[in-house]
Amino acid sequence: MIDTKWIGHRFPVVRWEVEKGRLRFFAKAIGETRAEYIDEEAAKAAGHPSLLMPPTMLFSGPLDHDDVQRLLRTLDIDMKNILHGEQGFTYHRPVYAGDVLNFDIQITDITAKKGGALELVTRVTRITNQRGELVAEARNVMAVVNR
């Protein structure tokens, strides 16, 4: 069982630079071919300052800083037992290539289901940009299947 003392725990803030090449690579991986996501001149012509980040790529910032491994190590969970349960984003501002984002991640809930066979770890992340503006909030539920 995961120790519920970790509810409320905040991880050190993750700082992540949004790079053009990475945006193009992500677009390729998900089959996104529209110009504002891959062609900077077209993005500018459409009124954007640079390439636009697709809605779910915010997830990648913490992943680049071994977010999953850090969480599993902290809570003493085996990587083989995890599944992604839920994910959500609330959007406040667009993110473009060149932005520098900060991710402030907090564990907000740890709940056991099915007599402990399933545990759900909920984290909420505040994402701000280099101007200190709130860009988005993310909510993540990781399922831990205890076999």
């Binding site: 998900i30 697709p54 992943l63 959007y91």
Partner: protein, 139 residues
């Protein structure tokens, strides 16, 4: 191409569907690298088998990204206020993603008209893999 006049959207309107080719190992490898999700359950069959799975399987966030394409092909990304999903079942190699959505409610919030859009990803057998909801501003 986004919807011609987003302000005219009504409850019950479907989103234009998106059907994708069968999921293969290449797309999982590319998504692992591009997204930074290196969890080996999705890219290393040896690890997946040790975890009791028959093979690697798709990242949940890959399906979520595909559904986001469905949404932003219908409405501009700047109109997207929130987007959340529940991962209902594992998406396997060979599954053909079928993304679809429907407007289920028009309401006013924070001084703007918004649409609540139910979205999902199923496979070619009609098995639902991801269920979600997006809130889109009709401005």
């Amino acid at each position: 191409m986004t919807v011609a006049d987003i302000s005219a959207v009504q409850s019950g309107d479907p989103l234009p569907e998106l059907r994708l080719p069968p999921i293969d190992r290449t797309v999982l490898a590319l998504f692992a690298g591009a997204s930074g999700d290196h969890v080996p359950l999705h890219i290393d069959i040896d690890f997946a088998r040790r975890a009791g799975m028959p093979d690697v399987f798709a990242h949940g966030m890959l399906g979520m990204a595909w559904i986001a394409r469905l949404i932003t092909q219908w409405a501009p990304q700047s109109a997207l206020r929130s987007y959340s999903v529940r991962f209902r079942a594992i998406t396997h190699l060979g599954n053909e993603p079928h993304l679809s959505g429907k407007v289920v409610e028009i309401f006013v919030q924070d001084g703007e008209r918004r649409a609540r859009v139910a979205v999902q990803m199923a496979n070619q057998y009609g098995e639902i893999k991801i269920l979600g909801e997006a809130i889109v501003a009709l401005v």
